[in-house]
Amino acid sequence: MASVSTSARQAAAGSRRAGSRWAAATGRRRSPGGAGWLFATPFLVFFTLFLLVPIGIGLWMSFTDASLTGHGDGVFVGLDNYTEAFGDSQVWQTLGNTVWFTVLTTVPLVIVALVMALLVYTGMPGQWLWRLAFFASHLLPVAVVYQIWSMLFQPDRGMLNSVLQTFGMDGIAWLTDEKYAMWSIGLVTLWWTVGFNFLLYLAALQAIPDHLYEAAALDGAGAWRRLWSVTLPQLRRTTALIAVLQVMASLKVFDQIYLLTKGGPNGATRPILEYIYDTGFTNYRLGYASAVSYVFFGIIIILSLAQLKIFSRRED
C-alpha cells in the first residue's frame, strides 16, 4: 500500500508537470481555442461592465476635482490629488493601522481555523453541532456582530468585564483605550470570520486520500507523526490559499471598525478605507478620495504579487 501511495503521488506530480503539454495536445485536438472563449464570455461580460468599467471611471475621477455635491464630473487637475496624497500624514497613519490590523489578524485566523478543522475532523459525535458552532458567527450580518459585541464590550455593564471582575481582574476599556482598541477589533474579527477558513480547511482535510494514512499507519507512524508528515504537508496548498485570501480580506477591513469605534480612539483604529470613505462622503471630495483609493490599490497589488510569488515558489 505504501508503494501504491508513492506511485500515485509520483503520477500526480508527473501529470502536473506534463499538464501544459497535455493541455496543448488535447486542446488542439478537441477545443481549438473557441470553446474556452465561449465558457469565459459570460463572466467576462459582467466582469468588464461592473468591475473594469467602474475601476476606469474611478481612475478618471482621481485626476479631477469631482465632488459629491456637483453634478458635473469635475475639472481635470492632473496629478494634483496624487501629490497631495503622498504628502498627507493621514494617508500614512491610516495605512499603518490597516497593515497592523492585517498582521494582527492573519496568523490567528489561519491557525485557529486549522485547529478547529483538525479537532472537528476526528470523528467525534455531533459533527453538525461543531460545524455549526464554528461557522454560525460567519452567518451574521456585520450590523448584528456590532450589536452583540458592543453589548459584550460595555465597560461598566458588559459581560466581558463582569467575567474579568469575577476572576479579580480590573475591567478593560476594550474599545476606548488606544492600547486595546485594535486588539478588541481583532478579537471580534477572529470570532466573526474564522468560520470561512475553518470550512476551507475541513474540505481540504476530507480530500486527503485515506490510503496515505493507511500507509503511514502500516509503517508504524503515530498520531503526531501522521499529523506532521501526512496531514500538514497535504494541507500546504490550502494554507497558501487561505493566507493569500486572508491578507487581501484583512487589508480591506472597514465595516466592523466603522461600526465599533468609528476609527477611534484618537484615530488608533482608523483604516485607510475609512479615511477614503470620510474624504469622499463626509467631505465630498470624490476626486481626492479616488486618488487615495488608487494609491492604496497600488500598494495592495504590490503586496499581493509579492505574496503570490513567495507562495508559488514554496509550492515547487
Binding site: S15, W22, A23, G27, R28, R30, S31, A35, G36, W37, L38, F39, A40, F46, F47, F50, P54, I55, G56, I57, M116, L119, V120, Y121, G123, Q127, W128, F135, H138, L140, P141, V142, A143, V144, Q147, I148, M151, L152, R157, N161, S162, W191, L199, L200, A203, L205, Q206, A207, I208, G222, A223, R226, V230, L245, L251, K252, I276, G280, S293, F297
Partner: protein
C-alpha cells in the same frame, strides 16, 4: 488488518480522521478542547439570543445575568413583527440572494473551467487580471457603480442590486484551483470517448466538483444576504429593500433598543442558518459519493 484501519471503518470511513490519537485519553482531550472552543464561539451568539427574550429594562441593565429579573418574554419579537414590512424584505432578500447565487455559480464555474482546462488566446492575461481584481476594495467602486446605474436607468430595480454582485473573482479563483486538482486522466478518458469541451465540463468536471460548488454557492449566498452597502445605496424604495437594509431603516426611525435589535438580528439570521444546515448535509454527502475523500 491493522487496528487503525479497523477503527477507522468503525467510525464510518470519512467521519473519522486518523490525525489525532485513537486511545481513550486523546479522545477525551480532543472532546474537551472541542467543547471549550464551541462554548467560547457560542457564548456571544447565545448572549444575543438571550437578550432578544428579555424586557428592554433587563436587556440594558444586566452585566452577565443570563436569567432576567422580569423573566423571559416574546415582546421584542412581537414589536419587530408588527413593523409590517419584514415579510416584504425577507422575500426581496430571498429573490436577490437566489438570483445572485445562481448567476455567480454558473458564470464562475464556466470561467474557472475555461481558465483551468481550455486553451484560448489571452487566457493567462485574463486570469491574471481576474486575480488582480480580487484586491480591489469594493468600497471604492460604489460611486462609479452608482453613476453607471443612473446612466443605465436601473436605480431602484432588482437588476441594480443583483448585477454588480454576480462578479466574484475570488470564487473563480477557488473553483479554478479545485478544477486544477481533478486528475487529467479522467478528462482524457472522456475525450478519447469523443466528448467535447462542454460534455467534459458537464459530465466530468461538474459532478466531481459538487462539494466545492456547494461551498461556493453557500459563501455567495451568505455574502449576498448579508451585503449592506450596495443594496443600501442602490435602493431607496422600501418595497425593494433587503432584510439588513430594511432593518436598519426601522432602527433609524423608531430607535430600537437591545432586546428588539437582538430579536431583529435573530429573525434576519434564521434563514441563513437553515440554508447552511441544508447545504451542510449536501456537502458531506457529495464528498462521500464522489469519492473525493477516499480511494
Amino acid at each position: 488488518m491493522p487496528r487503525e484501519v479497523v477503527r477507522r471503518r468503525r467510525y464510518g470511513g470519512h467521519a473519522w480522521h486518523p490525525t489525532l490519537g485513537t486511545g481513550p485519553l486523546p479522545r477525551v482531550l480532543t472532546l474537551l478542547a472541542l467543547a471549550l472552543m464551541t462554548v467560547i464561539w457560542l457564548v456571544p451568539f447565545g448572549w444575543g439570543v438571550d437578550t432578544s427574550f428579555k424586557t428592554e429594562v433587563d436587556a440594558s441593565a444586566s452585566g452577565a445575568d443570563w436569567i432576567p429579573k422580569a423573566g423571559f418574554t416574546l415582546d421584542a419579537y412581537r414589536t419587530i413583527l408588527d413593523q409590517g414590512n419584514l415579510p416584504v424584505w425577507a422575500v426581496n432578500s430571498v429573490v436577490i440572494a437566489v438570483c445572485v447565487t445562481a448567476i455567480t455559480v454558473t458564470i464562475s464555474a464556466m470561467a474557472a473551467y475555461a481558465f483551468s482546462r481550455t486553451l484560448f488566446r489571452g487566457r493567462r492575461v485574463l486570469f491574471a487580471v481576474t486575480i488582480a481584481s480580487i484586491m480591489v476594495p469594493p468600497q471604492i467602486l460604489i460611486v462609479p457603480l452608482f453613476r453607471q446605474m443612473l446612466a443605465m436607468n436601473l436605480v431602484d430595480t432588482y437588476a441594480a442590486v443583483i448585477l454588480p454582485q454576480v462578479v466574484a473573482p475570488a470564487m473563480v479563483f477557488i473553483l479554478k484551483k479545485f478544477f486544477d486538482g481533478i486528475p487529467r486522466e479522467l478528462e482524457e478518458a472522456a475525450r478519447i470517448d469523443g466528448a467535447g469541451s462542454f460534455r467534459v465540463f458537464w459530465s466530468v468536471v461538474l459532478p466531481l466538483s459538487r462539494p466545492i460548488l456547494a461551498a461556493v454557492a453557500i459563501f455567495v449566498f451568505i455574502n449576498t444576504w448579508n451585503n449592506f452597502l450596495w443594496p443600501f445605496i442602490s435602493t431607496s424604495d422600501p418595497q425593494l429593500m433587503t432584510l439588513p437594509v430594511g432593518l436598519s431603516t426601522v432602527k433609524d426611525s423608531t430607535g430600537l433598543r437591545n432586546a428588539q435589535e437582538s430579536a431583529a438580528s435573530i429573525l434576519g439570521s434564521i434563514p441563513l442558518l437553515i440554508v447552511f444546515m441544508l447545504f451542510q448535509r449536501q456537502i458531506v454527502r457529495s464528498v462521500a459519493t464522489t469519492g473525493l475523500g477516499g480511494q
